[in-house]
């Protein structure tokens, strides 16, 4: 019973942590190069531990686009299919630098305690 509770607590904490870090992961990915939707979402979901429903990342991409942190364009690929490609914007790069800096500081602080 106590183990179940502890397990649940850790699962909840882990879920919250992943949710909080998803934006960071998306920006890190699209800084590398232009990604199309499936490729980006699949990569981010995998990096986040594979427990993220891939669909949940699309509203996140939508929000980041609205905040002008990423930009997207549709492109026609083989056999008449379309893909939406995402890339980071200068504003996104600036935010990512800040996020990276804070992440590193947090990581150092946690390492000192563990």
């Amino acid at each position: 019973m106590a183990d179940d509770t502890r397990e649940q607590q850790v699962t909840n904490w882990s879920r919250q942590l992943r949710k909080g870090v998803l934006e960071f992961l998306v920006l890190l990915r699209v800084r590398e190069r232009e990604y199309y939707g499936y490729e980006l979402v699949h990569a981010v979901a995998e990096t986040a531990g594979g427990e993220v429903a891939e669909g949940t990342l699309y509203p996140l991409l939508n929000r980041l686009s609205k905040q002008s942190l990423i930009a997207s364009r549709w492109d026609q690929v083989a056999s008449g299919r379309r893909r939406r490609y995402y890339r980071i914007t200068p504003a996104g790069e600036a935010v990512l630098r800040e996020m990276t800096d804070r992440w590193i500081r947090l990581d150092r602080a946690v390492r000192r305690l563990t």
Binding site: T56, N62, K66, G80
Partner: protein, 184 residues
């Protein structure tokens, strides 16, 4: 640019799985404008098609199941688009109209509530001044009238009970109802 076409499946079971999933998607996105809805749907379709290409194990239905399972049920993520939707470009015209009408209706109900409360308060205050003319009257025509009445044959029904009853109405129409309607 053309919209993303739905795929054609050779297995009817896969066709059904697809139709069920995207029917739910369409239903959940109906509050958004047609352009926005199409844009989101196209992206989800593109994702599933790319996912099917990447899956190399199993039947068509199994591959589709696997991609949609990783995607998650539409109810788990599509509402977030609605939460983030802003401006007339994103919300569907019908939904905007319904929201607008609801807002107008609420304001009208609120105004009516204050007016009725004021009327009840005036009745309570005026009753001691004109005890015979103020009250709830049954008119000879069979109609009920609450207010100042001097008509012959009209029967006053409440007497001084009008005062506490009117004050209860003031409480209802000035406090309880406005709270229910989201003000005060």
């Amino acid at each position: 640019m053309n919209h993303q076409a739905d795929p054609v499946f050779s297995d009817p079971a896969a066709e059904r799985v697809w139709a069920t999933y995207f029917r739910d998607v369409d239903r959940r996105l109906r509050r958004l404008s047609a352009t926005r809805r199409r844009d989101i749907r196209d992206e989800l379709v593109a994702h599933v098609l790319d996912g099917l290409d990447a899956e190399d194990q199993g039947s068509e239905t199994q591959r589709l199941d696997s991609v949609l399972r990783r995607m998650g049920p539409p109810g788990e993520y599509l509402d977030r688009y609605l939460e983030d939707a802003d401006g007339p470009g994103e919300a569907a015209a019908g939904w905007r109209l319904a929201s607008g009408l609801a807002g107008v209706g609420r304001r009208f109900a609120l105004a009516a509530s204050y007016v009725i409360g004021l009327w009840a308060l005036l009745l309570a205050l005026a009753k001691p001044l004109w005890p015979e003319q103020i009250g709830l009257f049954l008119m000879p025509s069979g109609w009920w009238v609450a207010g100042y009445v001097e008509a012959e044959g009209a029967v006053e029904m409440l007497g001084y009970w009008l005062i506490p009853l009117a004050l209860v109405l003031v409480g209802i129409f000035w406090i309880l109802l406005p709270r229910r309607l989201g003000r005060r």
